[in-house]
Amino acid sequence: MERRASFRHWWIGIAFAVPQIVLIFTFFYWPAGQAVYWSMTLQQPWGGGNIWVGFDNFRQIFADALYWNSVALSTVFALFSTVLSMGLALMLAVFVDRELTGSKIYRVVMIWPYGIAAPALALAFRFIMAPEAGFLSFVNRLWPGLWDPGLDGTDAMISVIVAFSWKYVGYDFVFFLSALQGIPKALKEAAALDGAGWLRRLWDVQLPLLTPTVFFLLVIDITESFQDSFGIVDIMTSGGPARATELMVYKIYFDGFKGLDYSGAAAQSIILMGLIVALTVLQFRFIERRVHYK
């Protein structure tokens, strides 16, 4: 999109853009390029030279069962948390959109979880889901040994998924509700005059019009499930038990900063970047209506 009216002093324009350019070059493009370089070399931690190894790092990663473990876990995590949070959010938004008495309060409260830092809610959920004390502990009193995220990998995964979804229901809710309220009232009224009941209208009119929002949130939630999950995993499970919740970003962090394997971590970063870029491109393909960059 171009505007007709612009200013002639183009050097002022450039001067105004310089701070941002310097910032993104220093903290975005250089590191991103660096990651590519590191992923192709074997580097001694902090100095000591690099040896060019081509795609060896990638080969190594793809041969590593632990890496595939983290990919599988990330996929499971992304899938369940996205479906859970989007499903619940859509249901809540549809009901709030009916605007019965009290819907104002729901509207306000359901956004709160998104304001909470992932590590803070992780600590809260760690307590809530602790096996020996806290909110869920009575389960073990009734059926001893049934629930223990500290020992059972599946229980641990369920815990992080629930914690993450709790936060993102609020986020998705905001978007669904705003999209629902953006649907012209006249459309619902026309459908009502056509004899469609509430469920029919929901199915035939509202949900189809929500498709762009669904696609948009799908991509956002999956992307967030890669990044915002770090705090939750680190506080709740530290990737355990026995790597049962070692998601991709957590593994990058762990290999890079704990294992000091920068080349491996860089190669993993590149793969993750590729994945996220692919998702974003997909998003633009499907939701061009939402975004009008020329």
Partner: protein
């Protein structure tokens, strides 16, 4: 619209109430757990009424994790990111939308691409840059041979070294270096009618006057929304502060939570942990409640 749907209305109320409970329960559990002593908090099932040790626990958590200075750090960090974003985004969007200069499209796309890759996935090299922030420029000088040139002319070898670890700049700058806010402003600036720009020109205003007198006042809503979102986003950052602040003096409240996790096999001081959690989540919760309108608006318009 007149509709008689008693059953549907009942279902609506029930579902929404359950949703309400699910949203609110974790907050309630945290608050209740934070008000009991060590024994009561570890009871099974957990007590459902508040106990009498609330202030005591808050105090213990506050001192154990040294939350006072950490909260100050968090405020500086989050406030810095919000302010930096609001400022940098505004001037960049102004440059992109209201000027035509060579390479404008290239700059637009260069900024746009940063939307795609969050900090978390390029964390390792970004950390390296923060540890030695002039490294990119030093490398460029070396590789291009410029440094040799400068050396031969000035007789001095440029050896720029400057680490950003354990500094506010190190915390803040990398988080400012994304396009989120720029695009929020850009979309808004594009809705400003051309005639308004032309009217300002006819009134004799140059670009900077126009920016200060017309554009900024009109952007107030966007500033509020962006500042709210960015404050929350930065406050809730975890991985980056965890890496950049190796010394406790610059640690943020959120990273400090880790200190409060009861050790496996140690004393299960959940009451203290929950009191700490409550302290850390309260500022953001207050912001969300107080700035609800801007928060929702910011979420929807930044589309992260």
């Amino acid at each position: 619209m007149i509709e008689r749907t008693p059953i549907l209305n009942t279902i609506t109320h029930v579902v929404l109430f359950v949703g309400f409970l699910a949203s609110i329960t974790p907050f309630v559990v945290v608050a209740i757990a934070a008000s009991h002593d060590l024994v009561a908090v570890n009871l099974v099932p957990m007590p459902m009424l508040p106990g009498g040790h609330f202030w005591e626990n808050l105090h213990t958590a506050w001192t154990t994790a040294d939350l006072g200075p950490k909260l100050v750090n968090s405020f500086i960090f989050a406030g810095g990111v919000a302010a930096g974003k609001v400022l940098i985004s505004a001037i960049t969007a102004f440059a992109i939308v209201f000027f035509r200069f060579p390479g404008r499209q290239a700059i637009f796309w260069a900024i746009f691409i940063t939307l795609m890759l969050p900090l978390e996935v390029r964390i390792v090299p970004t950390y390296a840059v923060a540890a030695d922030v002039f490294e990119p420029y030093r490398t460029i000088l070396d590789v291009t041979g410029l440094n040799g040139l400068i050396e031969s002319i000035a007789g001095v070898r440029l050896d720029l070294k400057f680490g950003l670890l354990n500094s506010y700049a190190g915390l803040i700058l990398p988080l400012v270096a994304t396009a989120t806010g720029t695009f929020l402003y850009r979309q808004f600036f594009l809705t400003i009618p051309d005639e308004l720009v032309e009217a300002a020109k006819m009134d004799g205003a140059g670009p900077i006057r126009f920016f200060v007198d017309v554009l900024l006042p009109l952007s107030r809503n966007n500033v509020a929304a962006l500042a709210t979102i960015m404050f929350l986003w930065a406050w809730n950052q975890y991985l980056w502060p965890l890496l950049v602040t190796t010394e406790p003096s610059h640690a943020t409240a959120v990273t400090e939570l880790k200190q409060l996790i009861p050790n496996v096999g140690g004393i299960p001081e959940w009451n203290i942990a929950m009191a700490g959690t409550l302290i850390v989540m309260t500022p953001t919760l207050v912001v969300v409640v107080a700035m609800q309108r801007w928060f929702v608006r910011g979420l929807i318009s930044t589309e992260k």
